[in-house]
Amino acid sequence: MNVDISQQLQQQVQRACEEKVALRIVGGNSKAFYGCDISAETLSVAEHRGVLSYEPTELVITVRAGTPLKTIEALLDDHGQVMPFEPPAFSGHATIGGIIACNFSGPRRAYAGAARDYLLGCKIINGKGEILTFGGEVMKNVAGYDVSRLMAGAMGSLGVLLEVSLKVLPKAETESTQMIHCSSADAIEKMHTWSQTPLPVSATSFHDSILRVRLSGANKAVMAAVDQIGGDAMQNADQYWQDLKEQRLDFFNTEKHLWRLSLASDVESVLVENTDEDDFLYEWGGALRWLKSDMPAEIIQAAVAELDGHASLFRRGSVFRDGEQSTIFQPLTPGLMRIHKNLKQAFDPHNILNPGKIYSEL
């Protein structure tokens, strides 16, 4: 279970660099659905695995990128700790490297922070085949640019993740979920009323006219919050939040494209033709909306851009046209794209690491 193949990985990147061959970085291949298609030689990181250090009282764990997510979760659980960003796995094979590369976070994100917020440091191979270490294993570290966090969400296009150090936290003592039947406007209103008070809310969702709110923390605090919030206690709530995180709820069972909209939490509704209330699922206090729609990307992205938000095609529906490749992620402004291209050049001058995975220019 504990294997170091960093040298082989480095050699493969160096060879690709010399021969100008593009590489497709793969961990557990559990997120192949996400991002643009690329045809390239596979660089498999899955065998590079193992926990390198974990000291529960330091609240830090360092692991090789190919370590399965479930291995890390089980180890943390033995010590009453968690990765607070509640990463979705989407398969039993998900690796921590893939999670960080995609910056995927689950229901707790709006209340505890994203994967990038818990990333303290990483070791990478850049596009020149150099092994580099940034950040570290301590919570406060401002030496040099924050290259580690830059890796979160870069989808491997700036470097191959070899190791990551993450901040972890104690598990909440108690959790309890309440359900309230209401309209979407009421749900938005309630979520914002709560978010302005110190209630221990750790997740929210709204779909099918039901607002669900999870409370986490010290026993007495959760009990008091349940009284304050009202509604009905939900049975099997853990299973529900797992199913939401892993997109196993009925809502996600669709032939249509699944869009991920990141926008201001208090937006009442996103106006997209041919969609109705049932096509939306709200999370993160309203700041994340899942939308099932086959409307053209331009229409959805324009509607969201109007609200100063971002829309990405998260999962493709049954019909996907090649032309849709270029609009999977919300287009960047020319100024930002220029900086992105310069950064790509700075880390991967030969354009061999997951080229075109996010944008064709990168």
């Binding site: 330091e58 994203a114 040099g144 919300q330 287009p331 930002l336």
Partner: protein
């Protein structure tokens, strides 16, 4: 550049700047430049060539375009409270003060955000949203004076980082001007956006990548209740272990601070907080949250502290006493400052378990250099602030202090930590960057800078050392018989 060329450059640049800005927003006489000669690290001073004080984004864009075209370096400055010389001016450069950008543009209580200009003071944000029951969490000790633009540039922390994070965790959007004068919006109205995480890259970039002209900060609801415990220990190691034990009990305190004997007595003399003068170390542990949560955690922490061998544990009996307990800690730097003509504040972070070793080595170094050290420690997150006491008027003492400080930082790296937790590299720790990073990593940093600023005009020479500088520094500091940067020529 020879002096004649420099002065002719100055004259022509001045002429151009006066076309963009009113006369009183362009300073160029020596007596007007003096207030800008240093930041909070006053050991380093230079007069800038020119100081500009724009008050619109358009003006900042025009100034940067002008400097870009003329190849003139630019150093941005907020309140000048930085402790690492990040805002130290350049003799051949323009100092760009953002002091006039003092407006809170918009407060949105529902979204819990505030859009502010970079010159707004950290504390002013919390004060402005206080009546809404909200606050801005990062609270560096200088929060009464430091500005949010500087906080972003340094990724400032404070005493509440362990629970509430650093600046990078508490901002949502930035507007920056590139060296070419282009306005870029980074981030959006949501919790994340498309593309690379430039928000993280900008945070802590020490003014090297762009000039921040607007910050959207996230606000938090004020906790219903906060309580602080004070624990005394007869041994620093026991105090360190107590910190681990609190965390092992599943509790994340809002603040967890440690002071050693010298710091305790200095603070007590200064503010009379009732600190235990016979203790070798003292912990302050603040718990916040709902009333129920705080009362549950206070009794738990009380028990943990006693089991960890505290000689005394006190809980603040009311809000006034809570503030008094904190007052001593917050005044620790000036309090220590009263013990000696000068003090030098260090900022390394270490894995907490290394504390006994680091304190022991620091005590040995203190004897070796014959300079006393007081220790103030953000114990929860491992951020050490050793304060070296010295007298700058004694010939060679500053140099000895800097060398001692450098050794402390190198020790932090050796035990798996970092040379700076929250004060930044600036000019102060630039040599120690050579210890923490190898030449490939430093080269990567330079490439990141070039992606934003290819001519290296924004705050050049700070934060990331050149490889040549490291080679020279390495030649003076041979570590375990190995020369760092063996691939470089020596000269």
């Amino acid at each position: 550049m020879n002096i004649n060329m420099q002065s002719s450059n100055k004259v022509s640049l001045l002429k151009e700047l006066l076309k963009l800005l009113p006369e009183d927003a362009v300073l160029h006489q020596a007596e007007d430049l003096h207030p800008y000669e240093c930041d909070g690290l006053s050991a380093y001073r230079h007069l800038p060539m020119i100081v500009v004080l724009p008050n619109t984004v358009d003006q900042v864009q025009s100034i940067l375009r002008l400097c870009y075209e003329g190849g003139v370096p630019v150093v941005a400055r907020g309140a000048g409270t930085g402790l690492s010389g990040g805002a130290l001016p350049l003799e051949n450069g323009v100092l760009l003060s953002l002091a006039k950008f003092k407006d809170i543009i918009n407060i949105d209580a529902k979204r819990r955000i505030a859009r502010v200009q970079p010159g707004v003071r950290n504390l002013a944000i919390s004060q402005a949203v206080d009546q809404l029951g909200l606050y801005y969490a990062p609270d560096p000790s200088s929060q009464i004076a430091c500005t949010i633009g500087g906080n972003v540039a340094e990724n400032s922390g404070g005493v509440h980082c362990l629970k509430y994070g650093l600046t990078v965790h508490n901002i949502q959007q930035l507007k920056i001007i590139t060296i070419e004068g282009e306005l870029l919006t980074i981030g959006g109205s949501g919790l994340d956006s498309s593309g690379y995480d430039l928000l993280a890259l900008m945070t802590g970039s020490e003014g090297m990548l762009g000039v921040i002209v607007e910050v959207t900060v996230k606000l938090l609801p004020k906790p219903e209740s906060a309580q602080v415990l004070l624990a005394a220990f007869d041994d620093v190691v026991k105090a360190g272990e107590a910190v681990g034990n609190i965390i092992a009990a599943g509790i994340i305190p809002a603040g967890l601070e440690m002071m050693d004997k010298l710091a305790i007595s200095a603070a007590e003399d200064f503010v009379h907080a009732g600190y235990p003068l016979d203790a070798e170390a003292m912990l302050l542990c603040e718990l916040d949250g709902t009333n129920e949560e705080v009362s549950e955690h206070v009794s738990k922490v009380h028990e943990v502290l006693q089991q960890s061998g505290a000689t005394e544990v006190r809980t603040a009996k009311d809000e006034a006493e809570r503030l008094t307990f904190w007052k001593g800690r917050k005044a620790a730097f000036p309090a220590v400052g009263r013990l000696s003509p000068d003090y030098y504040c260090m900022d390394g972070t270490i894995p907490r378990k290394q504390l006994p070793r680091v304190l022991k080595t620091m005590a040995d170094l203190s004897n070796e250099y014959d300079l006393p050290v007081a220790n103030v420690f953000h114990a929860g997150d491992g951020n050490l602030h050793p304060l070296i006491l010295y007298d700058a008027n004694i010939e060679g003492e500053l140099e000895r202090t800097e060398e001692f400080g450098g050794k402390i930082l190198e020790l932090c790296v050796e035990v798996g930590g970092t040379i700076t937790g929250e004060h930044g590299v600036g000019v102060e720790k630039i040599n120690q960057m050579c210890v923490q990073f190898n030449s490939l990593e430093l080269t990567q940093f330079h490439a990141v800078k070039a992606a934003f600023d290819p001519q290296s005009l924004l705050n050049p020479g700070k934060a990331v050392p050149t490889l040549h500088r490291c080679a020279e520094f390495g030649a003076m500091h041979v570590h375990k018989g190995e020369l760092p940067f063996p691939e470089l020529e020596r000269f």
